[in-house]
């Protein structure tokens, strides 16, 4: 049992991890087809996992509806949306479920274009107000760091709109310099740390040093 729960996953992680690293350097068709084979397995696993995902979603919302928890009406809408979308996908603009899905026409496409896309756009548009409220909180210059942030944000914001150049001609250049030099330097510093972090995490998992993904960590 311990072999199946601990040792086998560690062996699989080591073997697949090493294959993943090696095929990056080997252009031979054998290595490339092995990589494609692994990607196919990944897609197959994802397809099965999608069934689990749908089951989880339905079970969660069914328990909300059954217990009539707060805002259970939204959970009911999940079922309505799921059933309607599935029926439209099966209907497939009249040609049935065994043909490739029809794009740019039919009720399934209509649902996507006129329900999903506007709903997504609505959520995205809310971001503007959230940015404003978050910026307000951040720009209260209580500390020297917040004051620096406030000044640089004002320069960049004003430097990026036409009125910035009207106030002072050099403002767009200063804003661009701030983006190209201090901002880019910080960004690259983070990226270097992230890259090394990825190498370290990958090594820890491949060599079995990191085992918390198996649950708990220590044996």
């Amino acid at each position: 049992m311990l072999f199946l729960r601990r040792t086998l996953p560690l062996i699989i992680a080591f073997v697949v991890g090493m294959i993943g690293i090696l095929v990056f350097y080997i252009p031979h068709s054998g290595a490339q087809s092995l990589e494609q084979e692994l990607a196919t397995w990944d897609r197959i696993v994802a397809a099965f996992a999608l069934v689990l995902g749908i089951y989880s979603l339905m079970r969660l919302h069914w328990s909300r509806v059954r217990r009539q928890q707060a805002a259970w009406g939204y959970s009911f809408l999940v079922f309505v949306g799921f059933v309607i979308t599935t029926l439209f996908a099966i209907y497939n603009d009249g040609i049935g479920p065994f043909e490739p899905q029809v794009l740019n026409s039919g009720p399934f496409d209509w649902m996507y274009k006129y329900v999903q896309v506007p709903a997504d756009a609505t959520m995205f548009s809310i971001l503007a107000f959230f940015i404003a409220s978050a910026a307000y909180r951040t720009f209260r210059a209580r500390t020297p760091e917040a004051a620096i942030l406030l000044i640089s944000a004002i320069i960049v914001m004003i430097g990026r709109v036409p009125i910035g150049a009207s106030i002072y001609q050099g403002l767009p250049e200063i804003a661009q310099w701030m983006m190209d030099v201090p901002n880019l330097a910080a960004k690259r510093g983070i990226l270097l740390g992230v890259s090394l972090g990825i190498v370290a995490t990958s090594l820890r998992i491949i060599f079995g040093v990191e085992r918390s993904y198996l649950g708990g960590g220590e044996e």
Binding site: G30, A49, S56, L57, A119, V194, G197, F207, V209, G215
Partner: protein, 402 residues
């Protein structure tokens, strides 16, 4: 005298002919590929405007040769492909062409692919305006599959060096205690979980949008394992929201195992790790609703986030929850820093699991990471000095990705 003049004219004609004829023609297998391609190289020459190089391929030395490519003499210099031909000054004096197929002699609209292990004969023809042609000598080669991509040699060497440094750190940690700098966000994790326990409210763990193959998601899963163990010990409700079904399946197993390890398998609920939505903004909308309705005491957001980061974190902040975020997405870091109580920036996300476990071997890898960063800093300073002051680009070339 007449004979002498004729000789001179003949010599000049021959010299002119030679000047137009492509020289130094060599054919070889195209390196760093899985075969099916050969590369032809030849010397650069001064040619009249409107001249084109035609590459012709044959399966026999005696021909017939079939058109394979047409090259403008102003382009295709080896200097434009330093990964394959290097950075030497001679690369600006050599042309190259990679040939993967040639015209079918029966139907020129179709192409015949280069086969591995078959000898091909190649000729470079300088086609001057008014259709004067000057064919080169014939070169031959075979295409074959390569076992190592030499373009990635620098990546391989540097990756090996950094891996050895990190493995060295792990080895060193087993010998003596190492100092690891304090990470405030992780120090506050117990406090945040304790607050949820005191308030009797749940802890909401939110995964980012990347799938299981992403290292940031693996790092988030590692943090989840630690968090689940603590919530099991504190007997606090944990809710794990997922956007990807594979991540959800892995999270379910990890949380279940953590509860088992903590000696509280009974406290694990199947409903605690759930699928929310696969679409980005549906995910954000559903989680915003959960935050507002259920008011979790602690929100933990780990992984790679996009525009939904601020929607989640700002809503969480408005509910008064303690928020700890960790991401390697530098575009979303300002939003998390603004709205969360603690933020794990970039590499701190990867360090989180090791830091929380306090296991010497895992902490050793963090030390290795720090040494790697110090090495990179020294290289950057040296590279800046060499390039800016001395005009030497050696270090820049070593660190260039092809």
């Amino acid at each position: 005298m007449r004979y002498f003049l004729c000789c001179i004219i003949l010599v000049l004609c021959a010299a002119q002919l030679y000047a137009q004829q492509p020289t130094g023609v060599k054919a070889e297998d195209t390196p760093n590929d899985s075969g099916g391609s050969i590369t032809v190289v030849w010397n650069r020459a001064e040619l009249p405007d409107g001249t084109m190089y035609k590459i012709a391929v044959s399966e026999s030395e005696t021909g017939p040769f079939h058109p394979a490519a047409s090259i403008d003499p102003s382009g295709n210099l080896q200097s434009s492909d330093p990964g394959t031909f290097g950075h030497g000054t001679e690369t600006s004096q050599m042309h190259f062409a990679k040939i993967a197929e040639y015209d079918d002699p029966v139907d020129p609209s179709k192409k015949i692919a280069i086969e591995n292990g078959k000898t091909y004969y190649v000729q470079v023809i300088a086609q001057l305006p008014y259709d004067e042609v000057f064919p080169s000598a014939i070169a031959s080669t075979e295409a074959y599959e390569n076992f190592f991509n030499t373009l990635k040699t620098n990546n391989f060497v540097l990756g090996t060096i950094f891996s050895l440094i990190i493995l060295g750190g792990i080895f060193l940690a087993q010998k003596r205690e190492l100092f690891i700098r304090r990470i405030a966000g992780l120090e506050a994790l117990d406090e945040a979980l304790g607050r949820a326990t005191e308030m009797g409210k749940p802890v909401l763990f939110i995964h980012g949008l990347h799938p299981m193959g992403s290292v940031s998601t693996i790092a988030a899963i590692n943090v989840l394992a630690r968090v689940a163990q603590r919530t099991a010990e504190f007997n606090t409700e944990l809710r794990v929201a997922n956007q990807d079904p594979v991540v959800m399946a892995v999270s379910q197993e990890v949380v279940k195992e953590s509860y088992l390890n903590a000696g509280r398998p009974d406290a694990y609920s199947e409903n605690s790790v759930f699928m929310v939505a696969t679409e980005q903004f549906s995910y954000a909308a559903a989680l915003d609703g959960m935050m507002v309705r259920d008011r979790p005491a602690t929100n933990i957001m780990m992984g790679y986030f996009y525009a939904e980061s601020l929607l989640l974190a700002e809503t969480g902040a408005s509910t008064g929850a303690i928020q700890i975020a960790g991401t390697d997405s530098y575009t979303q870091l300002p939003f998390f820093i603004t709205t969360c109580d603690y933020t794990l920036m970039g590499e701190e996300l990867y360090a989180a699991s090791a830091y929380l476990s306090r296991e010497p071997k895992l902490l050793g890898s963090l030390k290795g990471q720090d040494i790697g960063k110090a090495v990179l800093l020294i290289v950057m300073i040296l590279g800046t000095i060499l390039t800016t002051i001395l005009g030497n680009q050696t270090l820049t070339h070593i660190f260039t990705a092809y």
